[in-house]
């Protein structure tokens, strides 16, 4: 156990727990100082973070496969939320069943590092099979809406997120475009956990930076109808801070060198913002506030992974292009 975790990965996990402890102590102190104000939502949020980080690091410490199973479970919960919130046709029950079964195959291909199948299974095979099963059932009313939204559900909840899982088993190719810059010996053998932690850490920090910068400055709204809180100044400030953090931790945690870490920061900063707004637009369309209540203080699983839906495949393909 843990032989697959490089020292810098272990340090990062420890830092996460330290940060959560500080957050918990802060909420306790705030409750002391302002006893008449309600911090219930905030405390729920921190407690849920403990559960998420705890479960994730346990899985990661156990083995890369366990962490991939963890992501498979996240995909399952996300797909269930998506299909429960969007209209589905009653006739398509069997089709939805296949959509759920595809999670198992997609994560099996990730766990076995079968890249060819991993990359075509949902965009090609499921793209052909699900509508085929639908015409076999024979109901044509709402066919496009049902086929379109189901495929989008799979892309969002399964295909995108599985890229984060695939990072765990990613190995540099024989002749990579850029020389990998391993921070430790274990990382040379298992570069995956570092890449995954980098992706998740930078994505989540980007969310926080975007929020904080958006709150503190800027007037011109990026998309006033989708998310009134997002300003251009906030976006620029958020992305710049994200790039700074990516350059700081990228070379220490992953095989990315400084220029590659900088580009990864730009990619994650911008696509995280786009993913967040995309899910906000979807929620506005469905007239819901959250995708669910699975994670107290956060909403549903999809509300938590909204930025990751865009950052995971983009960061994966960037790393695959540079080092694969």
């Amino acid at each position: 156990m843990m032989n697959h975790l490089a020292p810098e990965v272990r340090t990062t996990i420890l830092c996460l727990f330290a940060a959560l402890t500080v957050a918990s102590l802060l909420t306790l102190a705030m409750k002391r100082i302002w006893p008449d104000r309600d911090f219930h939502e905030l405390r729920c949020r921190v407690r849920t973070w403990w559960a998420i980080v705890g479960l994730f690091s346990l899985a990661l410490m156990w083995s890369p496969t366990a962490a991939i199973v963890f992501f498979g479970l996240v995909s399952f919960l996300a797909l269930k939320e998506f299909l429960s919130m969007t209209p589905t046709r009653r006739a398509d029950r069997r089709v939805l069943f296949y959509a759920y079964v595809s999670i198992f195959f997609q994560y099996y291909f990730a766990a076995t590092a079968w890249y060819g199948m991993f990359i075509v299974f949902i965009p090609v095979l499921m793209f052909v099979w699900l509508p085929t099963r639908m015409w076999m059932i024979g109901q044509t009313d709402g066919f496009l809406r049902a086929a379109g939204s189901l495929h989008w559900a799979l892309m969002v909840a399964v295909f995108s997120l599985s890229h984060a899982a695939y990072l765990l088993v990613m190995q540099p190719g024989e002749a990579p475009r850029y020389e990998p810059n391993f921070p430790s010996d274990i990382a040379q053998q298992y570069p995956g956990p570092g890449l995954l932690l980098f992706l998740i850490l930078v994505t989540e920090l980007n969310d926080i930076f975007q929020y904080m910068w958006g709150k503190s400055l800027g007037k011109r709204k990026v998309a006033p109808l989708v998310s009134p809180g997002k300003t251009y100044a906030g976006l620029i400030g958020g992305v710049l801070t994200t790039i700074f953090v990516a350059v700081l931790i990228g070379p220490r945690l992953t095989m990315l060198d400084v220029p590659r870490s900088l580009i990864a920061g730009v990619i994650i900063g911008l696509s995280g913002f786009a993913g967040d707004l995309c899910m906000s637009a979807l929620k506005r369309d469905l007239k819901i506030k959250d995708f669910g209540a699975t994670l107290p203080g956060h909403g549903g699983v999809l509300d938590r992974v909204d930025s990751l839906i865009f950052t995971a495949p983009l960061f994966f393909h960037f790393a695959y292009y540079c080092y694969g």
Binding site: F76, S84, P87, F97, Y100, L286, I288, G292, T294
Partner: protein
Amino acid sequence: MDETNRPLRFAFFALVVRPLMMIVLGTNVRRGELLPKSGPAIIVANHNSHLDVFALMNVLGLGRLRLVRPVAAADYFLTRPLRRWFSTRIVGIIPIDRTKSRREDGKHPLEPISEVLRAGGIVLLFPEGTRGEPEQMVAFQSGVAHLAKRHPDVPITPVFTHGLGKALPKGEAILVPFFCDMFVGEPLDSTLGKNELMAQLSESMGRLKSELPVQTW
């Protein structure tokens, strides 16, 4: 009257129903605090799937499980030996025969429900009488009004359920995961007459139903 197998019933709900509802399905409850804390009480809900009763009993929790008794059709659930055993011992149904208006022993057909209420139980009632077409509400049968007349002091809480008819509708064997909604309404006024009470019930259910964010195509 209570012929449930308590330890087995508890184990079934703790080890099978709870994980199933937590991971595979999932419930989205609104105003769960309006559900009765203890008996005697009546909960009326619309009926889409066999899973409704398990979802509702799961939301009521293991602490109240001992008290909870769903009313079900004797002419369906008592027919085969295994189904009969499971329904009476594990689910703990109160069997009511839909086909006869008088019982052989001359007692009122609702008498078994009254016995449970007198003993402080929480009775689950599905007044649509049948699961029917999934997610289509039909007119409620008036049994609940007769019960209210017999027990004017027992609160009647309406619960609107949605989604489980998609997960496991009548006549289907494959379970497809979906979240189900469970919207709890304010207790009805059980002192009303039959027609007024039924009108209040349908009005309350309609209002709960209108809380649904999306409709099916």
